[in-house]
Amino acid sequence: MSDRIRIARDDHRAIPSEVIDSFFDREMDDASRDKFFAMLRADVKACEDVVRTQRAVSALREPVESPELSGAILARLDERRHFLPARMRAMVTGGRAAAAAGLLLGLLAISLIQRYAPDGVSLVEAPSPVSKLASRSASDAAAGVQHLAGAMESVAARVADQSGKPRWGAVRQVSPLVAAPTTVRVAIRERSDIVIYGGAGDDPRFLTLPSASAPRRTARGGGVFAVNGVDRMGEDLLMVPVLTRGLGGHIDLIKTPDGP
């Protein structure tokens, strides 16, 4: 900057505007400022410009009287947020600290219990693995089978107790009926299987029995008849073997076109 001032002074030209800007931007040191003032004395136009600008800058720097606004500002702020007195603030701060400390201690206690006595605290029910679900289903199924086996045993016992009673094979399966039939119907599911519905009233039952390889016949009432064919369960039934004594109750022979 001092070089610019020296050049301007030496050349006897008007003071460059950059030099004047530098003065008002407060970028001149003391020596440069002295040279600048000396140049101004030789440049009337520049001097007038500088004086006029300095007058405006000085007016701008004069303090502006400000109204007292803190009361109005705090009132506006109170509408959004209430200020607490120092005493209450201390209580609120203390309360918050106590609550935070209580929460931390609680969490610490739970973590210690979990570590040293895992079974002591259980915040949530432990999820059941699938293997447990499978074993539970198996145990449920086993209980069902046991129930069925018990029912089978009671039927087998009844059948076995009847002395002299013709008997085909062994009882293989007993299944409860959905509805108690009043008559005996025989549903043949497959050649080697005979299902006999029996019973009346509240004690429906049916038996599946292995079919005989060769039909047998007896002339006595209630005797065993040979199975003449295989048919589906329900209405189209052929000759059927009937165990009369083992089942008890009233047994009707279902007649078929080829019936006996």
Partner: protein, 194 residues
């Protein structure tokens, strides 16, 4: 007020201490009012914007970053308020209102002429300021009235320092030209009335 004292006040005000908030307001309200008055030319508008700026700042003290200056944040919010205001209407210059805002002299009648001359200068100055572009006006106010350094003005106005200096230089030249024209008119009127 030292920076440490200011940070302490900010912490107190943020915790709900009314006294701390009051001290913080008093430390900055004069400079903020002067800035907004020079920018808008209207004391009533400046008062309202000062209040709103402080309310917004004090409501969000939890967001204040202590690495930065509190006044910078406060003036940034005030600037946004002024920009919104100026976009709604053009700032009007009211000589009577502005005169009441100037520091009054309690001197006796002998100095009335001086007061009137001074008031005229201030009137002329404010009128000239309002004829400048907003960036030039703001640069002049922040640099010459509030003594902000160039780098801080650049940060506040979000522009390079060279651009700030350019606004300063052009603003001063234009203001000088406006004042010169006003003086010329006043002289001719005076000659005509004489």
């Amino acid at each position: 007020m030292t920076r440490g004292e200011e940070l302490s006040l900010i912490e107190r005000a943020g915790a709900g201490d009314r006294e701390g908030a009051d001290l913080l307001i008093r430390a900055h309200q004069q400079s903020l009012f002067a800035y907004l008055l020079r920018m808008s030319g209207r004391p009533d508008v400046a008062e309202d914007m000062v209040q709103e700026a402080f309310v917004r700042v004090l409501s969000n003290l939890h967001r204040f970053d202590p690495r930065f200056r509190f006044s910078t944040w406060l003036f940034t919010i005030a600037r946004r308020l002024y920009v919104n205001y100026s976009q709604r209407l053009k700032p009007a210059y009211d000589t009577d209102s502005l005169d009441h805002s100037q520091a009054r002299s309690t001197a006796p009648a002998a100095h009335v002429a001086f007061r009137e001359a001074r008031a005229n200068i201030h009137d002329a100055l404010q009128a000239a300021l309002l004829e400048l572009a907003p960036e030039q006006r703001e640069a002049l106010i922040l640099f010459h009235q509030l003594d902000w350094p160039i780098w801080l003005i650049a940060q506040h106005m979000a522009m390079p320092e060279g651009t700030v200096k350019s606004h300063l230089h052009r603003g001063r030249r234009k203001m000088r030209g406006l004042l010169e024209r006003r003086e010329s008119v006043a002289r001719r009127v005076g000659e005509a009335l004489a």
